[in-house]
Amino acid sequence: MHEPLRLSSRDMASFVARGFLRLDEVVPEALNQRFLNDIGHRDEQEVTDPMAYYRSVMSNSAIPVVAAGTPLHEAYPAGSALYDIFTLPRIQGAVQSLVGRQPSFDHHFLHMTLPPHFYGEQASHHVSQHYHQDSTIDPRTTFDIQLMYFPQAVTADMGGTRFLPGSHLRVVSEAAIARYQNVLGQRHVVCEAGTVLIVHMGLWHGGGLNLSDRVRYMFKIRLCPTEPQVRLWDTSDLPNDHHQQRPIFWTGGAQDPADLHSILTRPEPWHEDDTGRLEAINRIRLWRRLLGDETFDADYWLTRIDNELV
């Protein structure tokens, strides 16, 4: 058994700023194939009735039915593909860094997006999924994570999950954001087999339309922390000057883009001119929580407005 590989401070700061981490090809191919076998994947040519196939996978796959609140380490039987996936050092380390050593299982689901030829003449009625935020209005600072596992390579025409980097700290109500068809800077998952996207519970996302001739699978699981999310990652790389303020606006030249302050304050293309600054403030507040240190600031955003003299 290998030790979990916890996230670096830069990875954590990027997650705080953008709401996702992408682990490319983190699951080995042999394990991807075991997962596909476990769910009862069949060659597309063998499928004649798409809804029957859907029901068959739902009822016959080896994905267990697990009660919400179950500790993650009890959710999957030892020896199953899912157990082995969650004990991969990089997956286990990322999960520990974000939601601790003993997260609880919320729910899981195998999303299957079927290609148009499965639907025949009805295919033209199919559209992509609207943007939404999962669950419901959730104003907590404590956050859950969702892992999206892609067991096969996802090509552009397979309609991989669309998501909006940096949208996770917006408090909205599930499908109320469905009106936003396209937002500047949105991404579509195109990846090799075995890629895992880890997202903050608040990240805006939606499934794409599968225009290929293959079934697209995405296995999603939501995990909740059971301990305060304070310094759970590998903090050994936190620089000594992490609390030191740097020049702002008149900087004397370009600043280091890999600096943690730069990562935390970097705007997204869709940020509004004024609320982009509030996004920075909300990220700094979350970073303070994760550091366990209410004195941290980046680019003076909170120090300035906290300077209330009475």
Binding site: H130, R179, Q181, N182, L184, G206, L209, P269, W270, E272
Partner: protein, 100 residues
């Protein structure tokens, strides 16, 4: 009931475009966009276009879209000044097209 037919017998169908801009000025940059096409010529959907159709709301006006609604500017509730939710600067446009 309003007559939606023109004198030449063609019906008018409404196309809607919603733009979200980077601030409250119509000439600020486009950060989000949505289309609904009442003519049925094209089915728009989420995620179908990664680049904005116009650089600004003003550019859309100059291309013939009619502005029909702008989101209001609301005061910030005390204690809730930093909470962010929906995109703030929403501009709705329409264009009427003739269908035989």
């Amino acid at each position: 009931m309003q007559n939606h037919y023109r004198d030449d017998g063609l019906s008018l169908k409404q196309k809607i475009m919603i733009l979200w801009l980077s601030n409250s000025a119509l000439d600020s940059r486009v950060i989000g966009w949505t289309f609904y096409d009442g003519s049925g010529e094209k089915r728009h959907m989420a995620g179908d276009q990664d680049q904005p159709p116009y650089s600004s709301g003003l550019a859309a006006l100059q291309d013939g879209w009619r502005l029909v609604q702008i989101s209001p500017l609301l005061p910030h509730a005390s204690g809730d000044e930093f909470r962010l939710g929906y995109l703030k600067y929403e501009f709705m446009f329409e264009r009427m097209t003739a269908n035989a």
